[in-house]
């Protein structure tokens, strides 16, 4: 078909746009799709691009169909093999991605293109499973725009790419008010509607409730943000920035595990000292601990306390969540500790690490109380001059012995583990606490940002009369770790996480700006949920908003938008030549006074007829009609605009 009939578009332009849509939609998926799948998708898309640009060469459709089916089966088997299962978020997204690519090849009708466009919408949504950041949103938006252009070019073949983009862009702009209204007012239903597949929350990083040598140093390599804290007043000094995570009591000779703990509504201690109010925005980690600053107080919503002083969420944190918390860093905790807990905090395996046991025994033998023992152990560790490093050597069967006496290089988990082991061997109750230590104030929005690289392990020792006392053995080897963070504590020449290198200062400034923007985005857009929706409505003045309020408001707002759009569609024909508008206004006024202009009547005739009916205004009306006729049909001389304005005034002043 060389000459398509007027305005029956061929499939070529929509096919090209669909290809662009697929490319833009799938590109951000490349981050998490398996490599082989990316290669398959890219190959298919490249083949399709070649097919579209060489319309003369089309493989026979039966062979093509068979090939597609074979390829689809092969890919499905590959996906099943790669993910180990079929029904879940990751294999689902992978399947959709391949489907979108394969669909491109078998396009024979506009129906196929529409189906592929719907697939690309699904995949744009699929992006948000992995990332809801601003750049991903921008990518998805671009993909949506191209998808709309694809649909548009299916309808009409007469548009240039520019006008297609402009028309689709206009539609997206006009759709934004709907987006805002629905986003704010659509009743948000919390939580999943049904059980989610097992991999729904995969890929969330953070602490775990076990610790073995190397687990925290691994986490420290990540620049990812763990949480943000927005303090109402001054933030606490660096030495008090201990964010409490899992407390590890049980030791099996190699790894530490969380002990059993009880839950209670109130903290197990009396708070004292200065209080810090802050809003904690926690990145999802699929765990319950909230990483509150030591030691939390009050009764924040949806939280409980454990008797090892953690603040826990009532449900695992699976989406970015906000908590308004208050902490009292100088509280004394655990003054009347349960004997069972103390017993658990002195437990050691029967054998293993003999050299450390011997050392502890020699240190405690002539000490008169646990406080003295603590001092001696700390002195001993200090005297050992251990090295603090992000790359500790691997440890064998007796990790404490090997760390203290052989390798003598370790990260915070090695220090904490060895210290607690020595204390327990000296029969002083002690335990490991994991969490984060430190935090950096973003100068742009003054929020404190705590990253995975701030992950830390420290220790607590129970002393009679003082309760649980925090001891950070890492400080013995690297005092600046506590005051100024990881970067300054590591020895020269140690490979730091990229962004922490001093030379990257300007880059850090850019990152501060970017993270402040991301934080605003997260707080206002991503974090918008049921509670925020209620707060928003209460801010509008609704006392007890429920879903009926929401639907009512939503309906009303949508109706207003529809009326505005209707107005847009109807009103535009009024625009046009200002002179014509003047004359139309005059005719309309006359029409309202019972003298409508007849369709065939010229201005002069019309004026004569009006003059006959309204002799008192005859001169004015004749003058108006004469001016209009001169301007309309006369030569287009200078002062045309001025005269038009004068005519307009004349019409306005005309009294009837």
């Amino acid at each position: 078909m060389r000459h398509p009939a007027p305005d029956t578009p061929s499939l070529l332009t929509p096919s090209l746009w669909l290809l662009i849509t697929a490319g833009i939609t799938l590109a951000p998926h490349a981050i998490h799709l398996p490599l082989w799948l990316i290669v398959v998708c890219a190959t298919i898309l490249a083949t399709r691009a070649w097919m579209v640009t060489h319309p003369g060469i089309q493989p026979r459709s039966r062979i093509l169909k068979a090939l597609i089916v074979l390829l689809a089966i092969a890919v499905a088997v590959g996906i099943r093999h790669h993910f180990g299962h079929f029904f879940g978020k990751d294999p689902g997204v992978a399947l959709l991605a391949v489907l979108l690519c394969l669909k491109q090849i078998e396009i024979t009708s506009s129906r196929d293109i529409r189906a592929a466009v719907l697939l690309s919408f699904f995949l744009q949504l699929g992006l948000f499973f992995y990332d809801q950041s601003l750049p991903v949103a921008a990518m998805a938006l671009t993909g949506t725009l191209c998808a709309l252009v694809t649909l548009l070019t299916l309808e009409t073949g007469t548009l240039t790419p520019r006008t297609s983009l402009r028309t689709s862009g206009l539609m997206m702009l006009q759709a934004i008010p709907f987006l805002v209204v629905l986003f704010l007012l659509f009743p948000r239903i919390p939580g999943p509607l049904w059980g989610l597949p097992a991999d729904a929350y995969s890929g969330m990083s953070g602490l775990s409730d076990t610790m073995e040598p190397g687990s925290i140093s691994q986490l420290s390599l990540s620049d990812a943000i763990a949480f943000r804290a927005d303090f109402a007043g001054e933030p606490p000094p660096p030495a008090q920035r201990y964010w409490r995570g899992p407390v590890l009591t049980d030791f099996d000779g190699r790894s530490w595990r969380a002990g059993r703990f009880l839950l209670q509504r109130e903290p197990a201690y009396a708070t004292s000292g200065p209080a810090y109010d802050y809003r904690l925005t926690l990145e999802p980690h699929n765990q319950r601990w909230l990483l509150a600053l030591d030691y939390p107080g009050g009764r924040p919503e949806n939280t409980v306390y454990s008797n090892d002083f953690q603040l826990l969420s009532t449900t695992p944190v699976r989406s970015r969540s906000r908590f308004d918390l208050r902490s009292y860093p100088e509280s004394n905790v655990g003054l009347n500790e349960n004997p069972f807990i103390l017993a658990a905090a002195t437990g050691l395996p029967d054998s293993g690490n003999p050299r450390a046991r011997a050392l502890a025994e020699s240190l405690s033998r002539d000490s008169h109380d646990p406080e003295d023992t603590l001092r001696r152990v700390l002195d001993e560790i200090r005297a050992m001059a251990l090295t603090y490093t992000l790359r500790p050597p691997l440890l064998g069967r007796d990790p404490v012995d090997e760390f203290l006496f052989d390798t003598r290089r370790g990260f915070c988990e090695h220090f904490a583990s060895a210290f607690v082991f020595l204390m327990r061997a000296a029969e002083v109750p002690a335990r490991v606490v994991t969490g984060y230590q430190g935090g950096e104030i973003n100068p742009v929005d003054q929020t404190m940002v705590v990253r995975q690289s701030d992950a830390h392990a420290w220790a607590e020792v129970w002393l009679d009369g003082r309760g649980w006392v925090r001891v950070d053995p890492t400080a013995l080897a690297a005092p600046s770790r506590i005051e100024s963070g990881l970067a300054s504590a590591l020895p020269q020449g140690e490979a730091l996480p990229f962004m922490m290198r001093p030379a990257m200062r300007w880059l850090r400034d850019v990152r501060h700006q970017w993270e402040a923007l991301s934080n605003a985005w997260n707080q206002s857009v991503i974090g918008y949920n049921t509670e925020r929706q209620r707060a928003f409505l209460e801010g509008l003045g609704f006392t007890s908003p429920d879903w009926r309020t929401l639907t009512g408001l939503m309906g009303a707002a949508a109706a207003v938008l529809m009326v505005l759009l209707f107005g847009w569609a109807v009103m535009q024909f009024r625009r046009g030549d200002p002179l014509d508008r003047c004359w139309d206004r005059f005719c309309a006024r006359m029409g309202r006074h019972g003298i409508p202009r007849l369709p065939w009547e010229g201005p002069i005739d019309y004026a004569e007829r009006i003059a006959a009916i309204r002799p008192s205004r005859a001169d004015q009306v004749r003058h108006i009609a004469q001016t209009y006729a001169t301007l309309r049909y006369g030569p287009d001389g200078p002062g045309h605009d001025l005269k038009t304005r004068q005519l307009s005034r004349m019409i306005s002043k005309l009294a009837l």
Binding site: F128, L152, E155, T156, M171, N529
Partner: protein, 324 residues
């Protein structure tokens, strides 16, 4: 119980305001434009619903955002479709007579007074769909073809102008019964017997003579030539005085008489044969007269005579001879 047909009639009268034919021209107002989702529109809605459920389930704020943006785009596309038809002017154009069995073409002149293009419009009748678009402040002629089966007046019936522009999700349409009619001549008999001769003719066969029926060229002007035949256009351009020459083919006059046809032919067969004879006479340039029960048209030649005779045949037996 109300039958489906009567419900449809009710819908037509009350919702679509279809009744008597609408005199053209019309300008589409907002009350004449109807909107409904298309099949792809419903599929789109289902897809959005699935995406919404996924967003709720996985608590994806941006998922909500995407769904609402797309829903907004669908609402907006409704207004675009509506605007694509609003204030569109529809005027009737020419309708050339045809013989029964040939498709008749109704012309519609679609005018756009607004400053943007109207894209992807479709003119839809009983038998055909005509895609077209109109530029800003422009007009186009769209031809609707309708099959014809019977002689007589034929009207295009219910005509729709529809569009699924811009996204194909919403169909906007208007429906009207235009006050247009086309004439359908009887179907000429395929192999008619030769023309009847009205008595002996002075010459056998035909020869060309200077007549005044068909334009045959120009010649130098002579004083004696009729001023009616001067090629005034050429004179106006500053050319020499020329006279238009017309050729008239003469053969014997013939009389086509209804009553002279064999008795075994029924009405339609007679009309068919008369039609075929008229066409044959026209092709040979012969003058002919037509006698029908109650009417007699004296012999003549020329387009208008042929049309007049064929029209008599087309409307034979019906009362509606008055219409143009």
């Amino acid at each position: 119980m109300i039958g489906i047909a009567s419900v449809k009639g009710l819908l037509d009268r009350w919702l679509f305001r279809l009744g008597r034919p609408t005199p053209l021209p019309i300008v589409l107002g907002h009350r004449q434009i109807f909107l409904l989702p298309t099949g792809p529109g419903y599929a789109f809605a289902v897809a959005l619903l699935v995406m919404l459920v996924a967003s709720i389930n996985y608590n994806l704020s941006l998922g909500y955002g995407l769904v609402f943006l797309l829903a907004g785009a669908a609402f907006v596309s409704m207004h675009h479709a509506f605007r694509n038809l609003l204030r569109l002017g529809i005027a009737g154009g020419r309708v050339e007579p045809v013989h029964a069995g040939q498709p008749i073409r109704f012309q519609f002149v679609i005018g756009n007074t607004r400053r943007f293009s109207r894209h992807a419009l479709r003119l839809t009748g009983k038998d055909s769909v005509v895609p077209f678009s109109v530029g800003p402040e422009d007009q186009v002629t769209a031809e609707l073809r309708c099959a014809t089966y019977r002689r007589g007046w034929v009207s295009p019936g219910r005509v729709r102008i529809e569009t699924t522009y811009p996204l194909g999700l919403i169909k906007a349409w208007t429906v009207f019964v235009p006050d247009l009619a086309g004439l359908v001549y009887p179907d000429p008999e395929a192999n008619p017997p030769p023309l009847p001769d009205a008595g002996p003719s002075p010459t056998l066969g035909t020869h060309l003579d200077h007549g005044d029926d068909d334009f045959a060229g120009l010649k130098a002007h002579q004083i004696s030539d009729s001023p009616k035949h001067v090629a005034w256009k050429a004179v106006a351009r500053g050319g020499p005085m020329l006279t238009k020459r017309f050729a008239g083919a003469t053969g014997g006059e013939c009389e086509l008489d209804w009553a002279a046809l064999p008795m075994n032919l029924d009405t339609e067969a007679r009309l068919s044969r008369l039609t075929a004879w008229i066409l044959a006479a026209q092709a040979r340039g012969r003058a002919f007269g037509l006698s029908l029960p109650g009417t007699r048209i004296p012999p003549a030649r020329g387009e208008s005579h042929v049309h007049h005779c064929l029209k008599q045949l087309a409307l034979f037996g019906s009362n509606a001879t008055s219409s143009a």
